[in-house]
């Protein structure tokens, strides 16, 4: 005689760690929305008229809100994803393990570099 409590589909509501895990997994929902917008964008590049339609769509307040959420989701994903990297693939050079904090900082530096490159492309440089 014994009992086995079965997990329901709502086990992740039990405490904060599981809720943060589910939030991490849910960052892909606004990502899917963004991917749909971008897919529409690349199709609109075939002629000017469709491109201006896409521009109008991108400027819709609800779409801007959706993309703001996507930006937040991407940054939250980054914050959770970067700390996993040194744990999954620790880098060892000879007998020295690269400190995890250095690897996390390096990844954030990459985010910053890409952002600066993008801003340079669309403002300063001739795209």
């Amino acid at each position: 005689m014994s009992y086995k409590p079965e997990l329901t589909g709502r086990w992740w509501l039990k405490h904060g760690h599981f809720k943060r895990y589910m939030l991490r997994e849910a960052t892909v929902i606004p990502l899917v929305f963004l991917l749909c917008s971008l897919l529409a964008g690349v199709f609109s590049l075939q002629d000017v008229e469709r491109f201006s339609q896409w521009q109008a769509y991108m400027a819709h307040p609800l779409v801007i809100i959706g993309h703001t959420v996507a930006l937040g989701a991407a940054l939250y994903h980054a914050a959770t994803f970067f700390v996993l990297f040194p744990r999954v693939m620790p880098i060892r050079i000879a007998n020295y393990t690269l400190p995890a904090r250095l690897m996390v900082a390096g990844q954030w530096a990459a985010v910053l570099a890409v952002a600066l490159l993008c801003l340079w492309l669309v403002t300063g440089g001739r795209v």
Partner: protein, 269 residues
């Protein structure tokens, strides 16, 4: 001396011999001070309140791994978890007693079959542990082979796996792992961490045998890096890291098998 502070504790009780279908909560008032552990609470209840209470314990110093329980829903070693961390200081503990609200709820480890009170069926973890052969496999050093060399190892070789060697088989990580809760066939954090520990050991030649278990859907691939297993580990093993390093190893081993026609570490290769 002042009166000892007291607080209320809810303890999950289940006795199939009494005809219980499901566990019920028993509320008890217990004295505590700054050094009272959850295990001390259980000892007090068994000695002073209700001698029928069943729970596992042995060393009282976080090395035997017997006294794992859920405290307020989080897997903990009873001997390494203290009442002082659950009740606010400055005599608020007395208020706990006054308003009868439990400061702690002690339950058996989640995701395991409950057998009696706080005792669970650890076989559900131990069968997975056995399956990954958590010991050094070296065909050349059998007892009947006198010419076998001794197992020497450099500090650098030790450092590769040392972190994963600290596991005490307490099972807290299984109680923390929702993937094990959803799928009891999942080999699980501790067993995979120990498999990884032996795979990384320079003296071992059994990787091929272990990868056959880790490569399956119920091996490393059931993990979604929830990471809670590593948070609750009382020995800092970081089983989540081991499982996900295991995914890299599993991917390599499967790729090598695909191209070579035989798997990694296979004696025939």
């Amino acid at each position: 001396m002042t009166q000892p502070r007291t607080c209320y504790v809810d303890i999950s009780r289940y006795d199939p011999e009494r005809g219980d279908q499901y566990p019920t909560m028993q509320r008890v008032q217990v004295p505590y001070d700054d050094s009272t552990s959850v295990l001390d609470v259980l000892q007090y209840v068994k000695e002073q309140v209700d001698s029928s209470l069943s729970y596992r314990w042995s060393c009282r110093m976080a090395i035997c791994g017997s006294c794992g329980v859920m405290v307020n829903g989080i897997p903990k070693l009873g001997c390494k978890d203290f009442v002082r961390d659950y009740v606010a200081h400055k005599g608020v503990g007395r208020d706990h007693a006054a308003n009868d609200a439990p400061a702690l709820t002690i339950e058996p480890l989640a995701h395991f079959t409950g057998e009696r009170d706080l005792v669970v069926n650890m076989d559900e973890f131990l069968t997975h542990l056995e399956a990954v052969k958590p010991y050094i496999i070296d065909p050349a050093s059998r007892p009947n082979n006198p010419s076998a060399a001794t197992h020497s190892q450099t500090p650098a070789q030790l450092a590769r796996y040392q972190q994963f060697a600290n596991c005490i088989n307490c099972g807290l990580c299984y109680a923390a792992c929702p993937q094990f809760g959803l799928n009891p066939e999942f080999v699980g954090p501790a067993a995979i961490a120990l498999a990884h520990r032996y795979n990384l050991d320079s003296r071992d030649h059994g990787k091929h045998e272990r990868m056959q278990v880790l490569n399956t859907h119920d091996g490393v691939w059931s993990c979604t890096f929830v990471g809670f297993c590593s948070d609750v580990c009382p020995k800092g093993v970081d089983p989540a890291a081991a499982v996900n390093q295991g995914k890299v190893e599993s991917a390599k081993s499967m790729l090598i098998q695909l191209f070579k026609g035989s798997s990694i570490g296979d004696s025939r290769s």
